[in-house]
């Protein structure tokens, strides 16, 4: 075959001529052309190592056939590949006989049995019999290498997949081979467990049953599992998943390799957070407040009560006195139906999906970057939260871009984080001085030259909950002014926050955002506050305002899966279905719309939010006419301009989802006015940000994750500790102009001098007491007690 395409290489595969891609490995070229070569160590998202020898094939490059590991050699012109010769068969049998020599063959009690590459390939390519009659190697049966992952060294075939993943993909090289030869084993360092945010992936990619996940051990056999493809809504990255259940209970999430999004990886919070869906604490019925507190009731009574509360509120203060906050945790359909109910039926402009920790919705109207745009940009500008903590799989993609693909990261941050060590330049700033930091960086000729080299993508979000978004927005605008072609990926955190904002859960003209709503409620101007899966008491940065707002709102209606701190205060609580119990679509931070898989029956009598909204609308005299979720999906496509292409058919036929258009109706990003306070006697500037594991309801009610949250300590630079007259481990009073709390000091060299860092919403956290959500920044002082 003569090909004129310089990117194609003509090779012979089992006697027929194929056109492989230049630089392609034999193993992938053969697979693309219908010849699956068995393998254990090779994984398409990691560098090949040639550890297992299972993929040996005969390759003739003109010197006669040679046994060659097909995962280690790229195709070359006129190469002759034989994947099924008698020699190859014999080698495959030999490799399997050796791998099985020490393998315990405890398949009947092994979680992997039934979905095990070793089992499958022993059947398809193995010799059937072993000549090994000696005693097998024995190790202590599973040892916990982390809180979530168990290692059975007898089953391990030393393929290097987990250790490569830990080092190459996650950047947490906490597991390694130790010793040599027949004594080689996977090990952690004593007292340093495999505490990676991504440890669950090693269980999924383990080709044998050596690594098992604690939440799934002995729960089901693969052939008993039923599964649906779905999307993880733990954060807004929107990783594709398979939801697996048995006997109407969700038992496991597996990552699906979606090329533009997650590459098959999931973070542990996303992978194991499904446990909260099965929690005994789930709300099973609606509840109404009586003199004796919240009591279970019927749906008709609860919805009737809600309709009454809404009518009373309109009568008392007009539609404007009703406000809806939240809605970023459900599906697009949930958000759309509630936006319809609030805007069109009730007639209030006060609707908002963010909880005072994001950026103005107008950011979504900027030229939007996809994750691929970010990963392939020459320069990636980070102006937002620590992605490892808030959007973990986006962290993996950007880490890969920097480490393996030579992309340059310019990071602006108030506290170094997961990507700092991979950044080309890290510019630390004191909260409030983002603009100055960006301007100084742009004036640096090296930075200017780097930005001019090629496409620039900006990942923008809120790095600090103890300041308003003002300074960040100004900095973002400065970068965009310098690099007008730069695309922006909004690093907003909650699962469907982008979808909710885009389908309409945002204020109409004259309406209030969440901060405005809470301020109005605290001032007694809100007759009815609707919380859509929102828990301001735990989640809103300003604890004092949240408390006054919940107390000041005359009527509170909560739609929730759990009785949270806030929904416990409500007059009516409506039990909502959780992910896995409902279908629909969700939108990730790129605007990518994917399907949610409904796998199990909803808990108790809980209903999806869209059905609740539709029921309330009916009682208020407007029938939405939705008979199924598909009707809502169709309604979004018909009525939301940017979702015109997002039909149920389009989503169902696109495995990687459909990109919604960038909404044109969000208005310009108005440059805000920044006024920084004087320091006075408060000598440290406060930085508060999230950790992956915190005290959120979904984490607290997942038994495997609940204990992974840390505790609230104030992290201070070692040099500042001395200045403050404190010491590591000391209890001090940390005060802002607002309040003072007692907290333990932790020495942390990554904290910038002049700032202190406190994690948000850890168990027992009181840091919200110090934060005034209207103040541009929060200054604090440390006092010894």
């Amino acid at each position: 075959m003569t090909s004129t395409d310089p990117n194609l290489v003509s090779v012979t595969l089992n006697g027929r001529t194929i056109a492989a891609t230049k630089g392609e490995l034999i193993i992938t070229a053969a697979e693309r052309h219908g010849e699956y070569i068995p393998r254990f160590c090779y994984h398409e998202r990691m560098d090949p190592v040639g550890m297992c020898r299972m993929c040996l094939v005969e390759v003739d490059t003109g010197r006669g056939p040679q046994l060659t590991p097909s995962c280690m050699v790229t195709v070359a012109p006129d190469m002759k590949i034989d994947t099924a010769s008698p020699m190859v068969k014999q080698v495959q049998e030999g490799v399997l006989e050796l791998l099985l020599a020490n393998h315990p063959l405890d398949c009947p009690v092994c979680d992997k049995g039934g979905e095990c590459p070793l089992q499958d390939q022993a059947f398809s390519h193995g010799p059937g019999e072993s000549r090994f009659v000696e005693e097998k190697r024995h190790y202590e049966k599973p040892i916990a290498i982390s809180d979530l992952v168990y290692l059975d060294r007898e089953r391990c075939i030393l393929c290097d997949r987990c250790t490569r993943f830990a080092d190459e993909v996650a950047g947490d090289a906490l597991i390694e081979f130790s010793s040599r030869g027949g004594n080689t084993q996977i090990t952690t360092f004593p007292d340093e467990p495999f505490a990676s945010y991504f440890s669950g992936n090693t269980v999924q990619i383990c080709p044998v049953g050596a690594l098992t996940a604690k939440p799934y051990r002995f729960k089901a056999r693969p052939w008993d599992l039923e599964q649906n493809e779905s999307t993880c809504t733990t954060c807004s990255v929107g990783c594709r998943t398979i939801v697996q259940s048995s006997r109407d209970q969700v038992l496991r999430y597996q990552g699906v390799d979606s090329a533009p999004v997650n590459w098959g990886w999931l973070c542990d919070k996303g992978r194991f957070g499904f446990e909260s869906v099965n929690s005994d604490e789930r709300l099973t019925t609606p509840m109404v407040r009586t003199s004796g507190g919240l009591v279970p009731t019927s749906w008709s009574a609860a919805l009737g009560a809600v309709a009454d509360l809404v009518r009373e509120s309109i009568a008392a203060g007009g539609a404007d006195s009703i406000a809806v906050v939240g809605g970023a945790r459900g599906s697009n359909e949930d958000a759309f139906a509630w936006a319809q109910l609030a805007h069109d039926v009730i007639g209030t402009p006060n609707v908002y999906a963010q909880m005072g920790d994001g950026l103005p919705a107008a950011v979504l109207g900027l030229d939007r970057a996809t994750i691929d745009d970010v990963a392939s940009a020459t320069t990636i500008v980070l102006l937002g939260p620590d992605l490892k903590e808030e959007l973990p799989v986006l962290y993996l993609r950007i880490r890969d871009a920097a480490v393996k693909r030579g992309r340059h990261i310019i990071e602006f941050t108030p506290k170094p984080g997961g990507l700092t060590k991979h950044a080309w330049k890290t510019i630390g700033y004191e909260p409030g001085t983002q603009l100055a930091a960006v301007e100084a960086a742009l004036a640096d000729p090296a930075v200017a030259m780097q930005l001019a080299k090629g496409p620039v993508a900006i990942v923008a979000g809120r790095a600090n909950l103890a300041e308003t978004s003002t300074a960040t927005v100004l900095a973002l605008q400065a970068i965009l002014a310098a690099v007008p072609s730069a695309k922006v990926l909004p690093a907003l955190r909650r699962g469907n926050v982008v979808g909710a904002l885009q389908v309409g859960v945002r204020p109409r003209p004259g309406g209030l955002d969440t901060t405005g709503v809470l301020q109005a409620a605290a001032a007694g101007r809100i007759e009815c506050l609707v919380l859509l899966g929102a828990d301001p008491l735990a989640d809103f940065p300003d604890a004092d305002l949240a408390r006054r707002a919940i107390a000041g709102a005359r009527r509170v209606i909560a739609v929730d899966t759990f009785l949270s701190a806030s929904s416990l205060q409500a007059d009516v609580v409506l039990a909502a279905s959780a992910v896995g119990e409902k279908g629909g679509t969700t939108t990730n931070l790129e605007g990518r719309v994917t399907s949610l898989g409904r796998r199990v029956t909803a808990t108790g009598t809980s209903r999806p939010d869209w059905m609740i909204a539709s029921g309330i609308a009916g009682l208020l005299g407007t029938e939405f006419g939705y008979r199924s979720i598909a009707d809502v999906t169709a309604s979004i496509a018909a009525r939301v301009e940017s979702y015109a292409n997002v039909t149920a058919t389009a989503v169902a036929s696109a495995p990687d989802g459909v990109l919604a258009a960038v909404p044109a109706d969000l208005g310009p990003l108005v440059p805000p006015v920044l006024s920084l306070p004087d320091r006075n006697s408060y000598d440290f500037r406060l930085v508060v940000s999230r950790r992956l594991y915190d005290d959120a309801v979904s984490t607290r009610t997942s038994p495997s994750l609940a204990h992974l949250a840390g505790c609230m300590t104030v992290h201070v630079n070692p040099l500042d500790i001395e200045r403050a007259g404190a010491h590591d481990g000391a209890e001090v009073r940390l005060s802002s102009a607002r309040a003072g709390i007692i907290v333990t000091v932790e020495s942390d060299a990554t904290v910038l001098r002049g700032t202190v860092w406190v994690p948000f919403n850890q168990p027992g956290s009181t840091i919200g007491e110090l934060i005034d959500c209207t103040a541009a920044v929060t200054d604090v002082r440390i006092e010894n007690i």
Binding site: L174, S178, F189, P190, E192
Partner: protein, 206 residues
């Protein structure tokens, strides 16, 4: 003592400076740790990880790959008796038997006074001189059981101190590479021109 002491930390930084990438110094630093404590402690592994920018697990993986790095305390003298073919034919078993009796320990063990550790070794590449053994990796050729007894007595009496330093000693004379002799610690990806040593020797070809 567990972590590297101050003078060894200074030496460690000097060693790290010889390489374009800090983690290339892992093995030399493990030798340094073994020299300091007679074996490689977990604390030293953690310290080396901090010094070269690797995780403790990575340093542990490297350390355990090499049998000459000991993770447990060993005696002042490590006696390795070769038991491979030539030595076996020439009386290695008798030699080992005598050593066991003389020292009162089995291979792999250490005498209670901490003086001797006895080990089986594979071929030491001195087959023409069989049977052979090593004391702290110093050869003794064509050795008889009686000579072994005498060797152990001499070691215990300190008569061989000048010849055989305690286990773990890397060198008795420290190597210090003057700055002008360093070839230049440039990472491979940062190399732009011809190799540095060619430039130093004025051998760059145009």
């Amino acid at each position: 003592m567990a972590r590297l002491n101050d003078s060894n930390v200074r030496l460690a930084h000097e060693i790290i400076g010889r390489y374009p990438r800090a983690r290339s110094a892992t093995i030399p630093l493990l030798h340094l740790a073994q020299e300091q404590d007679g074996y490689v402690t977990n604390e030293a592994i953690r310290h080396i990880g901090e010094l070269v920018g690797a995780t403790s697990a990575e340093v542990l993986g490297t350390c355990t790959f090499y049998e000459m790095f000991k993770m447990e305390p060993v005696g002042k003298y490590l006696i390795n008796i070769c038991g491979t073919m030539s030595c076996a034919l020439m009386g290695a078993d008798e030699l080992m038997h005598r050593a066991e009796h003389k020292l009162g320990i089995k291979p792999g063990a250490t005498t209670p006074d901490g003086m001797f550790t006895l080990e089986h070794a594979e071929c030491q590449a001195a087959c023409t001189e069989a049977p052979c053994l090593q004391v702290n990796y110093r050869y003794r050729y064509r050795i008889t059981p009686n000579e072994l007894d005498a060797l152990i007595d001499d070691l215990r009496a300190g008569k061989l101190d000048g010849e055989i330093p305690p286990h773990g000693t890397v060198a008795r004379v420290r190597q210090h590479i003057p700055a002008d002799r360093l070839v230049g610690a440039v990472a491979p990806e940062d190399v732009t021109g011809p190799p540095v040593w060619l430039a130093d020797n004025h051998e760059v070809q145009s």
